[in-house]
Symmetry: C3
Subunit: 158 residues, 3 copies
Amino acid sequence: MPGSGERTPTVRLRELGLVLPEPPRPLGRYQAAVQTGSLLVLSGMLPLREGVVTAGRLGDRISNDAGRAAARLAALNALAVAQATLGTLDRIRRVVRATVSMATVSDFVDHAAIADGASDLFASLFDEGHTRLALGAYTLPLGATIELEVIFELHGEG
Amino acid sequence: MPGSGERTPTVRLRELGLVLPEPPRPLGRYQAAVQTGSLLVLSGMLPLREGVVTAGRLGDRISNDAGRAAARLAALNALAVAQATLGTLDRIRRVVRATVSMATVSDFVDHAAIADGASDLFASLFDEGHTRLALGAYTLPLGATIELEVIFELHGEG
Amino acid sequence: MPGSGERTPTVRLRELGLVLPEPPRPLGRYQAAVQTGSLLVLSGMLPLREGVVTAGRLGDRISNDAGRAAARLAALNALAVAQATLGTLDRIRRVVRATVSMATVSDFVDHAAIADGASDLFASLFDEGHTRLALGAYTLPLGATIELEVIFELHGEG
């Protein structure tokens, strides 16, 4: 666990004025998270808020700014799932990897800027950095703009 | 290992009347599975049966029912690889994560229903749930409709 | 660690006459690699050399030979990141998994041959085999032809 003098992810989230959404319900016969050893593996997170998903392709209906916001929203959902599963975000040591899949038009090249919508949020909460992949998918569930895969590492386990 | 009173994955498979296919041979210079710690990581599994692959896009040549069957077939191939690698499915505690990539038309949105073809099979064999991603790829090896990534967790290792 | 009589990855690399490129800099707010337990997880690697990326779709501007070379180049970048992170490639036991995402035309089917550009390199350096996924993405960062995900397992840790 972090030393008592450090600002925990929970404290930082509050300082940023962020409130986590309700953790999303799985769309099929799977569960939102599984812990294996010191890793917490999450199912694909969509940019969902109160049941509404950000949908459409980057470079077409969705601007880069809206895409970044969608990546951030998917990351907030990932944090909501982690909190619901673990009881607190403060058991999380870091994000090991985030994979940001995004629906794009065929000549889109700004994947890194979009994915930073998720990375900036994680970087503001956890001292240790994460690895990342950003890819253009052809289609995503519900027509979503973003699907985010996250693997967290927990403190003092495994 | 599960208690002796439990129905093991092998028993359940038999009760379901399922016979695993021959484990597929790699298409290139890699191997079908690698164990690292308590995890068994598999290469991408296609919907192959006796050398024939289910090919074509969902929303075009492939109906949702055929897509679900293809996802299930890829999952059966994953189980066949696990059994060939481990000697028995009963060393498996759970699926940690399944990623179901599928070839689709550009406006396809039913990824979750297709991916349940794999998830339903896993849920019928293992008591503990799994995480899942479902994504639309642009193209897949051999023109396949589905490619499935599976990570298993084993009992009492790591 | 390997026995003193074995040819280490560093020795093999030299025997092959290969010189690793400069490790690529992240395109956003993430880092190139994270170690968790005995695993070294890398961010997505592109076919970059001296700041120039191999770009374009397989089946269109990029031939299969050029695609294989791009996959190999992305793998060399992965090795460069591993060496920069670990100090030496000789701490690596194996590649656990390589995922080769590639930009293709809509009817492309030769993913396995392209991905072997990375797998052949890994097989020439490490005695133990790896698992692999090969997929066709719709778009990749910077318009790249290839994006490679690699997870390494390290000797004697975790």
